[in-house]
Amino acid sequence: MKCTLRVGIFVAAILSALPSFGGARHFTFLYEANTSAPGSLELENWVTWRHATGAGRFDQVDFRHELEYGVTERFQASIYLADWFYETDPEHSGSTYSDTAIELIYNLTNPVVDPLGLSIYGELRAGDRLIELESKLISQKNFGPLILAYNATLESVWEGNDLAEREGEFSQALGASYEISPRISAGIELLHEFVFPEWHDTEKIRNFFVGPNVSYRHRNWFVTITALAQATDTQDEPDFQLRTIFGMGL
């Protein structure tokens, strides 16, 4: 008990000594090129509701709890403490742990003073019969109160028994966010996915989502919400998804 108390006090002392906020997000399906300030620590909670109708109808709510730490002026590291989801469909419902992950972002150029802000992103996920690698090129340009961002992402997934099932995905996302006031931004996000089951493109699976976003920030917290509707007609993919990210400095 004493040991637990000591550990608790030690962790609380470290957290209180940290200089706070990692930054606010203007998008939820895109990353921005700037990284967190060195020494800052932030907790982000992601909630994504996916809804599909028709024969394969389902509702799924994904949760992510992420700690984000600014290592240097240009480098940040994050841990996804837990990714889990609750799903309900005509046959069953329940919650399932999915994976835990680490994410690293290195900033190359600044979106304000350089012609284009660029960052590179790497992520490794591991879960129950799941390994996933993700790399991303993040680009961004700020035009005064307007932020334009583009992400190109390549994902490889190995899952199932002996990790025998493989899937690849390339996706690109484009977003615009206009700062109405220092606290409020609103904009649009577009997501275009190319899915390659077993790394083949025989099924020609293409998904396109589009929808608005809004972001509010105050003191050391922010909340950003995006609602995306599917513009294609892919079965097994959600017709609608709503993502909320709530972040707070620790």
Binding site: P19, S20, F21, G22, G23, A24, N34, S36, A37, P38, G39, S40, G70, E73, N110, P111, V112, V113, N142, F143, G144, P145, L146, I147, E179, P182, R183, R217, R219, N220, F222, G249
Partner: protein, 105 residues
């Protein structure tokens, strides 16, 4: 026709946003002593770098003439904790902003 109108509107928006220089580069004129205070160029350059890196973590950069020279120190002070600014870094940002403001006059 509708597509062209949207394109023209977007182009106008981009041009209007971009035509303002939100972070003017540091010049030797900005380091001119004023009110008995000496500001060195290295400090101003550091302030500009921090301004474009730290402040955009939460919001886009405002045009520097939006707030008065009297207001800027308090504005930066209020956000310095969130931006994880050390006292010297906060002073460098304030010095840069005020130097730009004075150089404009």
């Amino acid at each position: 026709m509708k597509k062209v109108s949207i394109f023209v509107a977007l182009a106008c928006l981009l041009v209007s946003c971009k035509s303002t220089n939100y972070v003017p580069p540091v010049t030797s004129q900005m380091a001119t002593p004023r009110k008995g205070q000496h500001v060195d160029l290295a400090m101003l350059r550091e302030g500009r770098t921090l301004f474009v890196h730290r402040c955009i973590e939460c919001h886009t950069l405002p045009v520097l003439w939006r707030y008065s020279t009297e207001d800027w120190p308090d504005i930066v002070d209020n956000m310095s904790h969130r931006a994880s600014l050390k006292p010297a870094e906060r002073e460098a940002i304030i010095a840069y902003i005020l130097a730009v403001r004075f150089a404009e006059h």
